[in-house]
């Protein structure tokens, strides 16, 4: 291992022209990526930040919390390269240009610049990366047949969940359809409880009784299996907010596949009539199961489909864009102006569900292109690195920490016992005396408690 690192280090030094031993491997790799950018054809670059990127400085000798740099001394699996730097090295806050939103029946839209603090950036990164790794772990467990039934994965769409949560309060409400694991996490449920619910164990957030599409938390109403049914429910939750006068809003999500359903238009009508504080959000990931939006909809301007309800179309791969748009929409509702529609243009890397490979109706090239050019996590990371808001090592630290948490959660999810049979009939009714439930045959009399 020691010689391996030395070999790599030397190779990198030759390519980048730096002095061997003067820098750590990670710093060399960063320089290498810069070198590659300079010599390869211009790719679409992310919006340039206002602060100029500086190469990372070597650690100051006086720093109290220096950790040993390890160009030649790895210990443990995988050489961990840690460089400690004082926080004063980093830019605490930066402003980024974000894409302008298309507007429908609105005089003005969200701002075209977003402010980001270092803390926020790291937090959004953490959230998105956690969702990403959790979904990939679920993919793995599903292929091992430890998760069964429905499993609709969210990887690629992380900026939507993270951006929305960043713009609303925990006391606001949120409801979505079945691609819900990301939102279950952002609304406060641990990865452990989510994975254990997917594996059907008693430690799952719904004690194993709900599964992938039926996870709940305070002010999070799932997780709904019937396409489109969650939209009137969301308006009902908004009705309750208005009725109770608590200044809360309800974010109601649906997909491009559900966007043509009749009950949505019934709901839009009532929400507009009663000025319900409901933010309707269409996550347009371009495919409703295997049907592309062009084949499914006479109009693919989903942000305009509310007709008399104002709307905006948002870059759903940019967490800052999502955040600013959601803030704008939430303010609109809280001001009593009634409902509003947001269309988030996003993309899912996986197929519709685990039984859909996802390549019969779209090309691998298309998926690859989105991954390389518009990945939400990479975009945020590059922005922050470009603005010197964090270091490569920090992101790596976060990745390692996330990987560990997801691994431990998966461990729990595979080892936790299934719910006991005594639980079978419980939770039929709320706040009711125990009742008898017929089993599979007349002599089987089971008990149900609230």
């Amino acid at each position: 291992m020691k010689t391996m690192l030395a070999i790599i280090s030397n190779a990198l030094c030759r390519i980048t022209g730096k002095n061997a031993g003067a820098q750590t491997v990670s710093e060399l790799l960063v320089d290498l990526s810069e070198y590659v950018n300079l010599t390869s054809p211009q790719a679409a670059a992310p919006a340039a930040p206002t602060a100029r990127r500086l190469p990372p400085k070597p650690p100051p000798a006086s720093a109290a919390h220096l950790v040993s740099t390890q160009t030649g001394r790895p210990d443990g699996p995988g050489a961990r390269v840690v460089v400690s730097r004082s926080l004063s090295d980093f830019t605490p806050q930066a402003t980024f240009d974000i894409k302008k939103c298309d507007l429908h029946s609105l005089e003005a839209g969200p701002p075209e610049k977003a402010e980001l603090t270092r803390e926020q950036g790291l937090q959004y990164y953490h959230t998105m990366q956690m969702v990403r790794r959790m979904e990939l772990k679920a993919d793995q467990l599903y292929k091992q047949k430890i998760i069964r039934g429905f499993c609709h994965l969210y990887d690629g769409q992380e900026a939507c969940a993270a951006g929305i949560e960043a713009a609303i309060n925990p006391s606001d409400h949120l409801i979505t359809a079945y691609r819900a694991h990301g939102y279950t996490y952002t609304r406060g449920v641990s990865v452990k409880e989510i994975l254990a619910e997917l594996t059907g164990r008693k430690g799952g957030v719904a004690k194993g009784k709900g599964g992938s599409m039926h996870m709940y938390a305070p002010h999070f109403y799932g997780g709904n299996g019937i396409v489109g049914a969650q939209v009137p429910l969301g308006a009902g939750i908004a009705l309750a907010c208005q009725y109770q006068g608590n200044n809360q809003i309800c974010v109601t999500l649906y997909g491009d596949g559900a966007a043509n359903q009749g009950q949505l238009f019934e709901t839009f009508n009532m929400a507009a009539l009663w000025k319900l504080p409901c933010v309707f959000i269409c996550e347009n990931n371009k495919y409703g199961m295997g049907t592309s939006v062009e084949r499914a909809s006479a109009s693919t301007d989903y942000y305009k489909r509310g007709d008399f309800i104002p709307g905006l179309r948002v870059d759903g791969m940019d967490v800052l864009c999502v955040r600013e748009a959601t803030k704008f929409a939430a303010d609109h509702c809280r001001a009593g102006k009634g409902p509003i529609i947001m269309e988030l243009q996003t993309y899912r890397y996986h197929g519709h569900s685990m039984s859909d490979p996802g390549v019969s109706y779209r090309t691998r090239e298309e998926i690859q292109e989105v991954r390389s050019k518009s990945d939400p996590i990479s975009m945020l990371k590059e922005r922050m690195l470009g603005a010197n808001m964090a270091s490569v090592e920090e992101f790596k630290e976060i990745d390692i920490e996330i990987r560990k948490e997801v691994e431990e959660s998966a461990q729990f999810a595979t080892s936790d016992p299934e719910p006991p049979l005594e639980e079978l009939c419980n939770h039929i009714f709320s706040n009711s005396p125990p009742l008898e439930v017929r089993g599979t045959n007349p002599w089987s009399k089971l008990k149900s408690v609230s």
Binding site: A206, G236, A240, Y243, T267, N269, I428, S430, N431
Partner: protein, 338 residues
């Protein structure tokens, strides 16, 4: 905006002239109240009792509208977020469009969430055959809803049933399907002072023996209870003594009450307005067979039901599509072998 919406939802129907139920009239032993008035009074009282209770639906308050799936879903969502909606269907036939929200969003949610998310909602409206409204507006949904775990299904007959069961349904923290009957709305019944008190409730899941008898048990719900009592009066003259049970609740079924009666009379006839196949009577037969009362039967159970056809329009055809008193009398005699 919030206050005006509140008013809109809580004002209920235009206040029809209701008899003065209170003050001086309380001194009288009993008072005549139509089923419609009993329902409206119960609604008024429950709206006043709990701020969170409100009305939503087709042609309620000042809102004229027919957006069934939409408003049913909105009602369920409001129930999830802490309110206690009473969702009214113009008839339960329209609920078929919204049935996904009733079953998948309301009935199953408490279970799917392992107890985290209750749904305190009442779905009410006229159910079953009316008069001259033909096939698409005459179906009985008792069997459809009673099939599903997670729902409570009640079917009141008289004014006292309507009042007590509606109050209980509204105060219940679970989804309750409240099946009314349009032909019963205008029928007056005597109501005792006790049944007119503000906290008068009838427990869900308990049937009532409307008439004690020794020779045969008649089990029924809703409008057919009245038919059974009329049949019993005629049969009494011929020396046949009928016990008439008013189910009041379809799910959970009060099997104990039925079994107790059968163990006394040894004969059972079920009477319902709905279609025969997979219906309320079918369920009662199965339950009696599985339980302790089976050995007490001196004859197989007889089901009296609506005719197994879509409801026709012409009066003579419609009249012959639902059980008449003569059908009940005939079936009783056949079951008794007389």
């Amino acid at each position: 905006m919030a206050t005006s919406l509140k008013c809109l939802l809580r004002s209920g129907k235009e206040a029809a002239a209701a008899p003065a139920v209170g003050d001086a009239n309380r001194d009288l032993a009993a008072i005549q109240v139509t089923v419609r008035d009993a329902l409206n009074q119960a609604l008024d009282e429950e709206l006043e009792r709990d701020e969170r209770v409100f009305l939503l639906g087709e042609e309620v308050a000042q809102y004229d509208g027919a957006y069934k799936m939409g408003f049913t879903g909105i009602a369920v969502g409001a129930a999830m977020a802490g309110l206690r909606p009473i969702c009214e269907f113009m008839t339960f036939n329209f609920s078929m469009q919204a049935i996904d929200q009733v079953i998948n969003s309301a009935a199953k949610t408490y279970y799917m969430s392992a107890g985290q998310q209750p749904v305190p909602i009442v779905f009410r409206g006229p159910n079953g055959a009316s008069a001259g409204v033909a096939a698409q507006h005459s179906q009985c949904f008792a069997a459809w809803y009673a099939h599903c775990p997670g729902l409570k299904v009640v079917s009141p007959w008289n004014a006292e049933d309507a009042r007590g069961l509606l109050k209980t349904a509204i105060r219940d923290d679970n989804p309750v399907v409240f099946l009314e009957n349009e032909l019963m709305y205008g029928v007056p019944f005597e109501m005792s002072e006790e049944s007119l008190s503000k906290d008068f409730t009838i427990p869900i899941g308990k049937a009532k023996i409307e008439r004690q008898g020794a020779h045969i048990t008649l089990v029924s719900h809703s409008r057919m209870v009245g038919h059974c009592l009329d049949a019993a009066a005629v049969l009494a003259k011929e020396g046949i003594d009928c016990e008439v049970i008013n189910l009041r609740t379809i799910r959970p079924l009060d099997v104990e009450c039925i079994e107790g009666s059968v163990m006394k009379t040894n004969h059972l006839v079920t009477v319902e307005g709905g279609w025969p196949q997979f219906g309320v009577g079918a369920e009662i037969c199965a339950r009696v067979m599985e339980g302790s009362a089976f050995n007490y039967l001196d004859a197989p159970v007889t089901r009296v039901t609506g005719v197994d056809i879509p409801m026709p329009y012409a009066k003579i055809l419609e009249d012959n599509s639902v059980p008449q008193i003569k059908d009940i009398i005939f079936s009783v005699k056949k079951t008794l072998g007389v």
